[in-house]
């Protein structure tokens, strides 16, 4: 406890105010023991004294605890022991003593314990003076603050790391104080905005990067979402705004705001943002590409639907202009001799240029001609600056600068070109070219299809003409002969010739059916519609048909007593078909009934036979192409099996319905309706 027997040290004045019993306390206070007690009680502190050379001559328990040496071990040894080798080498112990000579000296450094381990100690060295004022030695008071230091080190390290993160973050970070003034900008933020912290620390952040909207209108602070976030102390994530650079240019950002609280109050905020110009541009490009592809697909479908070529071209030029966002587009057709193009469709030009089918030379001086010779897509960035091609005067008159032209391919020869033009400089991309070419290809398909159809029509016309030619003279002769023999009374001859005439009519009908079928297939069945007297037509047909059979009596029931709207010829054709079927399929019957009824807004005509009837399963089949009923012993009734199919088409396309009511063995009733009016 007390270390007695060592050199006394004087000169320490301890001012202790103790509330103790006067006598004993005074006595106690006066004794050395008292002071030692005091010193010993302070075992958080290493308190020891040294002579003028630094040799230890007193030691407290605190010193033992902190430095590890016991009193026996350390007395008489140099206090330089407690320094690190490094410090000893650089003469720190001597320096310390020297400085202490002038008064007091405090320091913080690593110290070494008895076991060699180090600790961070904060120390105070005071010179010890005797009563004469002569320095006898030193007192050192030391405290182990390793933990504190460690915490500090940790904190510094944390801070360093944080700084590292913010400095190197690719996202832009701006810290603002509770008033909205920036306190920190990371390098990314500086790069994005063009400002350093110094530039803007005295300004409100909103006034620096957010004061206007891209459209030029003012952006007042009270509308700013960042400000709102701060005031309401709620964060924003994934917001989108447009900030302003130092240069004055706008850039789109995705941002978040995190308010920083201190003791429940707003202390500032972290604004984190990212320049999304590139992302937005990529989005735009993607959207554009999607729009292009949709247009390609749509146009393809329209082309396949068999729309009129002229209408298709009009749609094509309009759509291309919209999707590519160009002011002018055009389709030019190359004339057969290859010397001129003719404008077939256009968008953006004056009406009469397209309407008057303006012709453009196919030389290499016109864009179209140039593209033809280049045999591939041609892009001209600035027509006014290139020497070749000069471009047709029309282009120059419209102030055209940038153009893109692609060829519309044909089976053997190029059909023509599809062109797009702008009056401002435009950099057409590969996507743009691909899109134009896709549209041109769709057009090529449609054109090819139309040519084929025209050829087909031509062919059909020729076939029809050729087949009917010999039949015409055949019929003429048969009829003339019939008349002659009739005049001379040759009844048998007349009968035979009548039968021949019948067959000729059948042949004619068959050819007609064939032609109708091809027209229906191609969607080109046309009607000559007008109002006609229904009863009149029915009478006529019944009369004609009656001539072909003396076995069946055609009985008529009901009258329309009005005109109806439709193609008289074709409606007659349907009735003829139904009547001839009735005759054909009721060889053992002797009558056929024709019913006429008005069922507003339709007229209904039924032809009833008393033949074999049609079974329920077969009923839906009979209206199909090439279906032929088989009779007893599997005899197939003659005919191509087209009559009912064609009749169905004719009736349906005029807005009516056709159906059969029949029971096997009980005859059939074929009915059709037609709208009375247009």
């Amino acid at each position: 406890m007390f270390n007695i027997g060592y050199q006394k040290t004087d000169g320490i004045t301890l001012d202790i105010s103790l509330n103790m019993n006067q006598t004993s306390t005074l006595q106690f206070r006066a004794s050395e023991d008292f002071y030692r007690l005091v010193i010993e009680s302070l075992d958080d502190y290493a308190i020891f004294t040294t002579d003028i050379k630094g040799i230890v001559n007193s030691w407290n328990s605190g010193a033992q605890r902190i430095l590890g040496y016991s009193t026996d071990e350390i007395m008489g040894r140099d206090s330089a022991l407690f320094f690190t080798q490094e410090d000893i080498d650089t003469g720190i112990p001597e320096q310390e003593l020297k400085l202490a000579l002038n008064g007091r000296f405090s320091d913080e450094r690593w110290h070494v314990r008895k076991d060699g381990s180090q600790f961070w100690g904060v120390g105070l060295v005071v010179s010890l003076k005797d009563e004469a004022g002569k320095i006898q030695g030193f007192t050192k008071i030391m405290r182990d603050v390793t933990e504190r230091r460690q915490n500090l080190e940790d904190l510094k390290y944390q801070s360093h790391i944080t700084q590292l993160i913010t400095d190197n973050a690719s996202h832009c970070l701006i810290f603002i104080d509770k008033h909205g003034y920036p306190t920190y900008l990371n390098p990314a933020a500086t790069q994005a905005t063009g400002y350093t912290l110094e530039d803007i620390r005295r300004k409100h952040l909103h006034q620096v990067i957010h004061h206007h909207r891209p459209n030029g209108r003012d952006y007042p602070l009270n509308e700013c979402p960042i400000d709102h976030a701060m005031i309401s102390m709620t964060g924003i994530k994934n917001g989108e705004e447009v900030f302003i650079r130092r240069s004055g240019s706008f850039f789109p950002v995705s941002f978040s705001v995190t308010p920083i609280e201190k003791k429940g109050q707003l202390n500032g905020a972290l604004v984190e943002f990212e320049d999304i110009t590139a992302r937005k541009k990529a989005q735009q490009t993607l959207q554009l590409r999607v729009a292009q592809q949709e247009t390609e697909a749509q146009l393809g479908l329209i082309a396949l639907s068999g729309m009129d070529l002229h209408d298709l071209m009009k749609i094509a030029v309009t759509q291309v202009a919209k999707v590519l966002q160009v002011e002018f587009t055009k389709i030019l057709e190359l004339e057969p001799d290859g010397n001129f193009f003719v404008i077939r469709a256009g968008y953006g030009w004056d009406e009469d240029i397209v309407f008057n089918e303006t012709r453009i030379e196919a030389t290499s001086e016109t864009q179209a001609g140039y593209t033809l010779k280049a045999n591939g897509p041609v892009i001209i960035k600035n027509l006014q600056k290139v020497k070749h091609p000069q471009g047709h005067p029309i282009l120059r008159n419209h102030g055209i600068k940038s153009s893109m032209t692609v060829l519309i391919p044909g089976k053997t020869n190029t059909y023509g070109v599809l062109g797009a033009h702008t009056t401002t400089i435009r950099n057409f991309t590969k996507d743009d070219t691909n899109f134009m070419q896709a549209i041109a290809n769709v057009l090529a398909l449609a054109i090819e299809r139309k040519k084929l159809e025209e050829h087909k029509d031509e062919f059909l016309g020729i076939v029809s003409h050729e087949l009917k030619t010999p039949i015409t003279s055949l019929k003429a002769y048969a009829q003339v002969l019939q008349r002659r023999f009739d005049k001379e009374g040759h009844k048998t001859a007349v009968e035979h010739l009548a039968k021949m005439d019948d067959q000729i009519n059948k042949l004619t009908a068959l050819i007609g059916d064939l032609l109708d079928i091809t027209k229906i297939e191609a969607g080109r069945l046309r009607f000559n519609e007008d109002y006609f007297d229904a009863d009149d037509l029915i009478s006529e047909i019944i009369y004609q048909t009656q001539l072909t059979t003396n076995k069946h009596k055609i009985i008529r029931h009901g009258y329309a007593k009005r005109k109806i709207f439709g193609d008289r010829e074709r409606v007659g054709q349907v009735l003829i078909n139904l009547l001839s079927n009735a005759i054909k399929y009721s060889p053992y019957a002797n009558q056929i009934k024709v019913f006429t009824e008005i069922e507003d807004p339709f007229i209904k005509i039924c032809v009833q036979d008393f033949g074999v009837g049609i079974s329920a399963e077969k009923q839906p089949l009979i209206f199909e192409r090439f279906y032929r009923e088989t009779g007893p012993a599997q005899i197939t009734y003659p005919g191509l099996g087209l009559g009912l199919y064609i009749s169905k088409e004719i009736v349906q396309r005029q807005g009516g319905k056709v159906w059969v009511e029949s029971k096997k063995g009980n005859g059939s009733s074929f009915c059709f309706t037609l709208p009375l009016d247009k």
Binding site: G461, S473, K475, A476, V480, R483
Partner: protein, 132 residues
């Protein structure tokens, strides 16, 4: 005889098929008509005199469009009053035929009665002496 002899109506039949021309000639002459024939359109264009009283015109005569001939004749003062009946293998062409100015239309192969009725409609009452 003091009565003015009625003129036998002259029909000009234009068709590029000789068989049809023959058959029609026979058929119409039997009815007492006078028949002239033309195998192509040129002959009709070149007509300067001896005009027929009626023209049976095929719409398609190898290379010549009957509608053009029809329009041509209907425009010329001296021929515009000649009735023209357009003939076609395709009954759908009736509207187009009428649009070019034809007075009537008949489809091939035609029924003799139908043709004869039409002829009576357009030709003046005359003393036709049909042999049949």
């Amino acid at each position: 005889m003091t009565a003015i002899a009625s003129k036998t109506p002259k029909i000009l039949v234009a068709d590029d098929d000789p068989a049809i021309l023959e058959a029609l000639t026979m058929m119409l002459e039997d009815q007492g008509y006078q028949v002239d024939t033309a195998v192509n359109g040129e002959a009709i264009y070149k007509m300067e005199k001896d005009f027929p009283d009626l023209l049976l015109l095929d719409i398609w005569m190898s290379g010549t469009d009957g509608r053009d001939i029809c329009r041509h004749l209907k425009q010329k003062k001296i021929t515009k009053d000649i009735p023209i009946i357009m003939v076609s293998a395709n009954k759908d062409t009736e509207t187009i035929a009428r649009e070019s100015g034809a007075d009537d239309f008949i489809a091939k192969p035609f029924d003799m009665d139908v043709l004869l009725n039409k002829l009576k409609e357009y030709l003046p009452k005359s003393s036709l002496i049909p042999s049949i």
